[in-house]
């Protein structure tokens, strides 16, 4: 087998050194009833070409976003990723390294993490960021748990805005359910986020608001922050599209205390939903309650600058049941992809990219809003918006797919609730003019 370096002769010599007659002797602690005879009922080993053929066949059975006019967002965004990014993250030294627990021989990963943390802090307008969570949704859930911890457990209510991505709300609900955290959630509806302030009271540990929200609406966080702070609650600002933060005021500027979100849009592909990368940033004063790894600057024995994982007394491997989270493996390589892409973009590139996204979305909104049976829901948006159709959105999306257009995400698909025609649509810089006209044409046909 190509991955196994030992030859039969090696094995024999090694068994002799170990002092056992046969490999079975090393499995003698296994209770007899659980010892397997022979091979498991699965196919035997295959050549590279065979395995590749199998997967190529399955790959061809899905419609790649790049092969059609494509308009899905709702938490995962298709952007152009420079070839440099994928090249660098495949370098052996990054790809096949473990968590940088031995800093003397892990400075590559560590310095990249330090740069990542800084970029995330700058983008969100926060003081500090951690070295990533699994994804935006788990970051959101952990932020709520953290807020309750910050309140020393005395306040156990979390208010979720109606525009929070339903998957984020669900993941938060799941984690909170076993921790006696009372999650105040009231259905996913557009144009309602401002009203969360009505639900903030002295029992509230945090209020969770996404902007742009799942409908694409840009939410004014400042009044919510004000009300939250008045009740000593934390404002947790959420985003699912990091590129949006280049176009709109940072959550930090608007008073957020914790900012969590999905970083996938920068550097990481769609990947059918994973791996993605959860971003987690907060105010300096909250840092010791933050979950996850953080990298910090220090010096080595020769006084040279270097980086290490630090503040590990928050973490499971040191604090065990008192840890701020159970997270261990995070999204390391996706952080690197994010950081490399962000470095390539720089201020100028990221802003221009954001502008192009916005323009394409505006063009698409104009194209679609003119069609009979389509109502544009949003007053404001960045690169995604919602339309309300005169029939179930799922049907429309299926009909569009038949015409070779991947037209967006029906809200009902996310909520599992009734399909009242809400369709979430996203355009990015990857859409060309003909994509947009193709969508308009197809939708017209479907709706007529």
């Amino acid at each position: 087998m190509r991955y196994l370096p030992l030859s039969d002769q090696d094995r024999a010599e090694m068994l002799e050194k170990v002092g056992v007659p046969h490999i079975d002797a090393l499995f003698e602690d296994v209770p007899k009833s659980a010892r397997l005879d022979g091979l498991i009922d699965l196919p035997n080993h295959q050549s590279e070409a065979q395995v590749e053929r199998y997967f190529a066949g399955l790959s061809a059975k899905s419609t790649a976003a790049g092969s059609v006019p494509f308009f899905c967002g709702a938490g995962a965004y298709r952007h152009h990723i420079p070839a440099t990014v994928d090249h660098l993250i495949q370098r052996s030294e990054f790809l096949t390294a473990y968590t940088p627990y031995q800093p003397e021989i892990s400075q590559g990963t560590l310095q990249a993490l330090f740069e990542f943390q800084t970029q995330v802090a700058l983008l969100t307008g926060m003081d500090v960021a951690n070295a990533s969570m699994y994804d935006g949704s788990t970051a959101c859930a952990e932020a709520v748990v953290m807020a309750v911890r910050v309140a020393r457990g005395k306040k156990r209510k979390a208010v979720l805005a109606p525009g929070l991505h339903p998957h984020y709300a669900a993941a938060t609900q799941t984690l909170a359910s076993t921790l006696d955290i009372n999650v105040n959630e009231r259905g996913c509806r557009p144009n309602r986020d401002a009203h969360v302030i009505d639900h903030i009271d002295d029992d509230t540990a945090c209020v969770v608001v996404q902007s742009p929200n799942v409908f694409g609406e840009i939410v004014d966080l400042a009044p919510i922050a004000e009300k939250a702070h008045a009740h000593k609650a934390l404002l947790i600002a959420v985003f699912t599209e990091p590129v949006a933060l280049a176009a709109i005021k940072s959550p930090g500027e608007q008073g957020a205390d914790i900012v969590v979100g999905e970083g996938q849009g920068i550097g990481v592909g769609l990947n059918f939903g994973g791996p993605h990368v959860g971003l987690f940033a907060c105010r300096q004063k909250l840092v010791r309650q933050m979950p996850g790894r953080v990298c910090g600057e220090t010096v080595d024995a020769n006084g040279e600058r270097g980086f290490v994982l630090t503040l590990s007394t928050r973490e499971q491997h040191i604090r065990r049941e008192k840890a701020t989270s159970n997270i261990c493996t995070n999204s390391g390589l996706c952080c690197l992809a994010f950081t490399v892409h962000m470095t390539l973009l720089g201020d100028a590139g990221l802003k221009r990219m954001a502008a192009l996204n916005h323009e394409n979305a505006c063009a698409l909104a104009d194209e679609l809003a003119g069609i009979n049976g389509v109502e544009l829901v949003n007053e404001t948006f960045f690169n995604e918006f919602t339309i309300k159709l005169d029939r179930p959105a799922v049907e429309v999306v299926d009909a569009l797919a038949d015409k070779g257009v991947i037209g967006g995400v029906p809200l009902a698909r996310l909520t599992g609730g009734e399909d009242d025609g809400y369709l979430l649509i996203c355009a990015t810089e990857t859409n060309i003019e003909s994509d947009i006209t193709a969508y308009g044409k197809a939708l017209k046909e479907v709706l007529s």
Binding site: M1, Y3, L4, P5, E13, M14, L26, P31, Q46, V51, F55, G75, R78, T84, H87, E93, F94, L95, Y98, T99, Y101, Q102, Q107, G108, L123, S132, Y134, S137, H167, A170, A171, Q173, T174, I218, K249, E262, L270, N271, F272, G273, P275, G296, E297, A301, Q316, H317, I327, T329, S331, M342, T343, L344, L345, D347, A348, G349, C362, T380, A401, L414
Partner: protein, 522 residues
Amino acid sequence: MKTTGRPTAPQAVTANVVETKSGSKGLDQATKLIFETSTPQNTGVDLPTPKGTTSRLGSHARTGEIGLPGLSEPETMRHYVRLSQQNYAIDLGVYPLGSCTMKHNPRLNEKIARMPGFADVHPLQPVQTKQGALEVMYDLSHWLMTLCNMPAVALTPKAGAHGELCGMMAIRGRLDSDGQTQRRRVLVPESAHGTNPATAVQCGFSVDEIPANDKGRVDMDAFRAKLSEGTEDIAGIMLTNPNTCGLFENDIIEIADLIHKAGGYFYCDGANFNALVGRVRPGDLGVDAMHINLHKTFSTPHGGGGPGSGPTVLSDALMAHAPVPYVVKTDVGFDLVEHVVGEAAESFGRMCAFHGNMGMYTRALSYMMSHGADGLKQATEDAVLNANYVQASLSDVMTPAFEGTCMHEALFDDRFLKDTEVETLDFAKAMIDEGYHPMTMYFPLVVHGAMLIEPTESESKQELDRFIGSMRHLAEKAKAGDADHFKAAPIYAPKSRLDETQAARKPILRWTPPESLPEAAE
């Protein structure tokens, strides 16, 4: 795995170095932060000029700089290539981190994961446009369930710890639906990985530690004693097998029986499943839930810390409580169950957005298909053989923590360093100079100054012999009284020992622009 917080405030190393003007030394390139090499307004991308549409951002447009540095593409490339060379990696040498299973990462899997039908598919596309991706998930489930002899698997958990959460949530779901809401105590051996107690608590359980016996296994008397204290609050046990000492829990079936009799469930931490694949099926041991670290056992790359994937197999007792979403096969193809209704009405809910880490599913399935039933079994045996070979070759100069053969990793304690002034940490740093990544140190906690060595099946005998040669050399050097050599180590690494104490005391977690910006001297 990692030292249990032994922050080091290192001594200055006096090395006889010729200074260079550039700060670089041969191939070792001095590398600043991107923020320090920035030329503002530079960018490493070209994009068309926006046409200038009227904004629909309302009053929320960002004004002013974000503060990101500007680098061209060549500068960016060079920056990260240089950084990469400061890392150790499996592709460079032996990486015997116990419990971490640093095995070879085939590049075939990287290629497959990037096929457009997997990498460039949106999770929320219409289901008829993503049949191939769903089929991968279905096939992966089949392989995992078959290898484990378990009736169900939840693919969504994003890593091992997330898988633990999944399993413990399922247990809680089952207990709650049975009205057993008072069952909140979870037994956890003291040798457990930190994620186990942390997870239990994150699910609202309390942790009750059980000690190890002198053979490195669960102390069955203590275990029985715990149960005899009363079982009505017992939710279950979290047990790693092989355990974190690298030993098979030989009483495991009895443990499972007892915990079941006590009304609890058996969560098995499957981080070490690589010692069993193809030879032992967890389902035959009475396990109710077990996560599988695809990024360990099935070789998806660690990537400097992640991403991983922690599919969790579930027993008949728990499967109805599995999280959403999951894939089902229908008459017309594959479909997703995404909401807690209908057949998933008892699901404990959703753990994350979308359907888990597809990028790991493809890699792991490719890895399993490449090995096949025969290769997987052989890999397991080679992993165990390699560990035992290392243990047998070092046991005269180092001190194995327990008697007898081990499974996939060999555990030593620091008795052989007694009176040498060399500590486990120093020994580890000296290994760096010899060209190796240190083993896991100070874990598991049940052993003093633990050194946990997991060579994996990817090491050749020749590499192991060289590794053993270095370890023996160091052990002898330590005993010979050459403590200075160890205290100074590493001297050949890109950095000498780093001051972890200072890092934690005055955390600097991001770059900030220098307060004043005097013209930087050239």
